[in-house]
Chain length 140, copies 2
């Protein structure tokens, strides 16, 4: 469980000025190793049983990592947050794809969408949230 991702994770966390605890490092390492956005539950399953990690601690660590911009969380129609490591390659604003069959969720390319979406008078734009739904390659 001590691979390249662990090392990177620890570096990133220390660089963010927070305590480098086993939980945070392990969690971020899991997210760095994953290409999809995964749920709290899925992170729990990937986390080695030997080292135990309370679910509340996991929730709090994810919140902390998101606050430090090391990960981002994605909303979904199944009422479950999914988390994904922030990579250089995708900007803050990007679309996501969700498979309607297996629920896998991946990040798509940056949003080529005009930031000034036509809103009613008096409304102020902040951000766009876009999810494309369909079938993934496995489920097609």
């Amino acid at each position: 469980m001590f691979n390249e991702f662990h090392t990177t994770a620890e570096e990133l966390i220390r660089h963010s000025g927070g305590r480098a605890t086993a939980g945070r490092i392990g969690i971020l390492a899991i997210l760095l190793a994953e290409q999809q956005a995964i749920t709290h539950r899925e992170i729990e399953q990937r986390y080695p049983e030997a080292l135990q990690l309370d679910r509340v601690t996991l929730y709090r660590a994810l919140e902390w990592l998101a606050g430090k911009n090391l990960i981002h969380k994605v909303t979904s129609d199944d009422r479950v947050w999914r988390y994904h490591a922030n990579r250089e390659l995708h900007s803050h604003q990007h679309a996501h794809f969700k498979c309607t069959r297996c629920a896998q969720m991946i990040c798509l390319s940056d949003l080529p969408i005009d930031q000034s979406w036509p809103l009613p008078i008096g409304y102020r734009f902040q951000e766009i949230e876009l999810t494309v739904k369909g079938l993934c390659a496995d489920c097609c």
Copy 2:
């Protein structure tokens, strides 16, 4: 509580080939009277206390109405479904706006977005879900 919306609601329900129960009619009337998409809780509050309506029945009625395409439900980052009557004027695919301060949610115009979003090889497009976030006129 017997206004124009009630009459319309009952007609729509009968036309859909389901039982015209007090609950369904009342619920649809509430949604027809509303311009925003509102939550289960908000519908409950608007429903006259005198006529009582169980929360489970409300959930089931909403599911039924959505299945009959008389209303649509919208996902949100607060893990709460919001419901809105289907009007002729907006197509099946349209964007929504959600105020990040008061959580009000309105329907925006039809999606001028290319239905063929660039997906990885082997992926199949089904639909797009787009929410613009910002401040509504009241909260600006």
